[in-house]
């Protein structure tokens, strides 16, 4: 990224956040592999192993997600996910055009403003809709034998499975784009390094607009 000022190292991702990110990465990859086997796409382990691992990892994820929800609300980090249309066009224009011209990213990162408008909307959809849908449909699928007790026999397993599979493909597609997008930092691995160490090199403070902060600028 071309900079219009000095670069600065800032501590962008808290330890829990990074742990959460990589744990979730690991769990989702296993869920995708085993889930696609249960779906019948390929044979990697064997069906029984795939089912057992998928169930275990799915439930693990569900529990871990509860910690994430707790964290995001107690820290106020949820405000990072409030969608905005401001500068949305500039960001889209940047990725479709400016990036090829070596222009600077229109929205700089700050601890209190770590997501650009495009990220905000994508991560909100991911964390608030797509992942919960996967968890709810996955939990229902897992608990199929208890539907009678839960009073949800009006549900159709086919519909649940359909949504769950569609969600899985959406997540896989997200991963493809996400893995690519993290190479668009000022170096190929800059964003990856940030998610490992927590420290990211960003442009200086002056270029961050007040509106971007999750709380009013202190």
């Amino acid at each position: 990224m071309a900079t219009n000022g000095t670069m600065k190292n800032i501590y962008l991702y808290a330890r829990f956040e990074r742990l959460w990110h990589w744990l979730q990465t690991f769990l989702i990859i296993i869920l995708l592999l085993t889930g696609l086997e249960v779906n019948g796409v390929f044979t990697l382990f064997d069906f029984e192993t795939a089912v057992e691992v998928h169930n275990f990892v799915g439930l693990t994820w569900l529990i871990a997600f509860a910690f994430f929800v707790f964290w995001i609300f107690t820290t106020g980090e949820w405000r990072q996910y409030i969608p905005t249309t401001r500068k949305m066009f500039s960001v889209v224009r940047y990725y479709m055009y400016g990036i090829f011209r070596g222009e600077p990213h229109p929205v700089a990162k700050r601890k209190e403003a770590k997501h650009n408008p495009l990220q905000r909307i994508v991560y909100l959809i991911l964390a608030a809709i797509l992942l919960p849908v996967q968890m709810v449909t996955g939990f229902l699928y897992w608990g199929y034998n208890s539907w009678g007790e839960w009073g949800v026999t009006w549900l159709s397993l086919q519909a649940v499975a359909l949504v769950h599979t569609a969600g899985a493909f959406a997540i896989l597609s997200f991963i493809v784009v996400h893995v690519y997008m993290i190479t668009t930092g000022h170096t190929i691995l800059a964003h990856t390094r940030a998610m490992i160490s927590g420290w990211e090199e960003v442009a200086d403070e002056a270029s961050v607009g007040d509106w971007e902060y999750k709380t009013k600028a202190a």
């Binding site: 800032i10 019948g40 057992e52």
Partner: protein, 546 residues
């Protein structure tokens, strides 16, 4: 904003790593099935711990059993002189009546009634004496007294033949004949004095030969079960539990559990844990409804899938069983004579008197919803000759809470029917007027229908039929049970014909999968193009780095 460089806390990272490793270990253990014994197996072992039966009498010491018996009736009389109620009890059982429910007069289900199959078709209400060789009375008649020895003697011999011979020799009266009679009487005496609870060979003397020969009918019931290995039958295997038939086919008042006809063999699914006096006829009696490891997905299957479906992957694993019988091919002669040919198993695949037959070994069952009742067409019922007629079929459906997916042998037949009356026809087979002697269909059908008390128009043709047998014997050791993908498969699911419910892997939506991969590949293509754009434009990334 104050930013300070800080060193990563090593200890915390080690802790984190440890947690990570523990999670990995948990996932790995979820992947492995535990080597521990599943609870259902332990339950069953407890339930069958004491194997030694004991009785308080020695039949060889009873004076009344030391006679020179001259007839079957004398033997029976000797038995009931002590066991006063035995014959009365037995007369009420289906083993004697050959009627599913003697009080039901409309359809008269039962082999002595209007029931039929697509093997030898009918007993013509027991007018066909050949069928009665398996009736547990003396001689080929239902009018005689009960032959207790068939089921209760340890000695294997043809009791009917023995008493007929004794009578014959005694009638001749000369010294030599009396000696011969005495020899047979000695043998018979030995049989009478060696009384046991029914062993495998007692039951097998009829049930292994259902349909008139070894393994003809059932597919899971033939002479291979007389001395089975554990691999053939995990319960009866002589190198294993060595169960007799009566271990599961428990008995009350001579009524033996396990009859499957118009009503289920067991109406309730309960284990000995719930009722210590329950019949042990179902798998669940000893193994419970959740026999697999706690938390195992297999336990979630037992409400809809019968144990037999996974644990009997194939039937007829030692001896072949008959899979089809085409009566329409019968009657051919070679050089003016009846003839037979044999197949690769040494079984007759053609007989002039019976037609063309197919045998098979290691057969994969067909699977149907089944609530324990078999529905069937009787000799009186109208049929629809436009298609294949199901002579018998399992009752049940996905919606029925008592139905489970159950394995079956389906026997295909082609048998005579009345073109005018649109009923299946019951030819008489054995005897002088029987088809096997005359090879004359019209004659055999007329006599057979007359014996049934049913009309015959004189116009007949052959029609394709099916007949089902529930598969329940020959339970394989657990390492030979079905793997998930035998059914959970898109391409060759054993349950491909069972519709109306969603099964993972079998029923995954093609549309969603195509659309899903479409989106994923579009994403891949998109980012690839973008990356190429960045690479060639050199607008982004390393170029401007210092």
């Amino acid at each position: 904003m104050k930013i300070t460089e800080r060193k990563p806390p090593i200890l915390k990272y080690i802790l984190l790593l440890a947690c990570w490793l523990m999670l990995m270990a948990q996932i790995a253990s979820a992947a492995q099935s535990s080597a521990d014994q599943p609870p259902g197996l332990s339950m069953a072992q407890q339930a069958t711990k004491s194997k030694e039966h004991w009785i308080t009498t020695d039949h060889s010491k009873h004076e009344i059993l030391k006679q020179d018996f001259k007839s079957g009736a004398e033997i029976t009389a000797a038995c009931i002189s002590c066991h006063s109620e035995a014959e009365k009890q037995f007369h009420k059982t289906i083993h004697w009546t050959w009627m599913a429910d003697p009080s039901e007069k409309k359809n008269e289900y039962g082999k002595a009634g209007n029931s039929l199959n697509n093997f030898c078709i009918s007993t013509n209400k027991t007018a066909d004496a050949g069928c009665l060789s398996c009736h547990p009375g003396w001689g080929n008649s239902k009018q005689t007294s009960v032959n207790c020895l068939v089921c209760h003697s340890q000695k294997s011999m043809n009791f009917d033949e023995a008493v007929t011979d004794i009578k014959g020799f005694l009638k001749e009266g000369d010294e030599e004949s009396r000696e011969m009679a005495g020899e047979i009487q000695a043998e018979l005496r030995e049989a009478v004095q060696k009384i046991i609870r029914p062993a495998r060979k007692n039951c097998g003397s009829c049930h292994f030969y259902g349909g008139g020969g070894d393994g003809v009918k059932h597919g899971d019931l033939d002479t291979s079960l007389a001395k089975p290995s554990k691999a053939l039958d995990v319960h009866m295997g002589m190198d294993g539990q060595n169960f007799d038939c009566t271990r599961c086919h428990t008995t009350t008042l001579h009524i033996i559990a396990g009859r499957v006809y118009t009503r289920p063999a067991a109406t309730e699914r309960k284990s000995l844990v719930e009722d210590d006096l329950t019949a042990k006829i179902t798998c669940e009696s000893c193994h419970t409804a959740t026999p697999h490891e706690v938390g195992s997905k297999m336990n979630d299957h037992t409400d809809k899938v019968a144990c037999q479906s996974c644990h009997i992957s194939e039937f007829a694993r030692v001896n072949p069983t008959k899979m089809s019988w085409d009566w329409s091919q019968s009657g051919k002669l070679k050089d003016g004579k009846k003839y037979k040919t044999k197949d690769e198993f040494g079984k007759f695949d053609y007989m002039s008197i019976k037609g063309r037959m197919k045998w098979a070994k290691n057969v994969k069952p067909d699977y149907f919803w089944y609530n324990g009742s078999i529905k069937s067409v009787t000799a009186k019922d109208k049929i629809d000759p436009s298609g294949v007629v199901n002579v018998s079929w399992p009752e049940g459906s996905r919606q029925d809470a008592n139905s489970r997916i159950y394995p079956f042998k389906v026997h295909a037949g082609k048998q005579p029917y009345d073109k005018v009356n649109q009923t299946l026809l019951m030819p008489l087979l054995s005897g002088k007027q029987g088809y096997w002697n005359t090879l004359d269909w019209n004659g055999a059908l007329s006599v057979g229908q007359a014996a049934m008390g049913l009309p015959y128009s004189g116009e007949f043709d052959f029609i394709e039929t099916t007949y089902v047998f529930p598969i329940t014997h020959m339970v394989a050791p657990r390492d030979k049970s079905l793997s998930c993908t035998e059914c959970h498969s898109k391409t060759d699911s054993r349950l491909a014909n069972l519709k109306g419910f969603y099964m993972p892997a079998r029923d995954a939506s093609r549309i969603i999968n195509y659309a899903g991969w479409g989106v994923v590949f579009a994403s891949l293509f998109g980012v690839l193009m973008h990356a190429l754009g960045r690479f060639f434009s050199r607008g982004n990334g390393r170029k401007k780095e210092e």
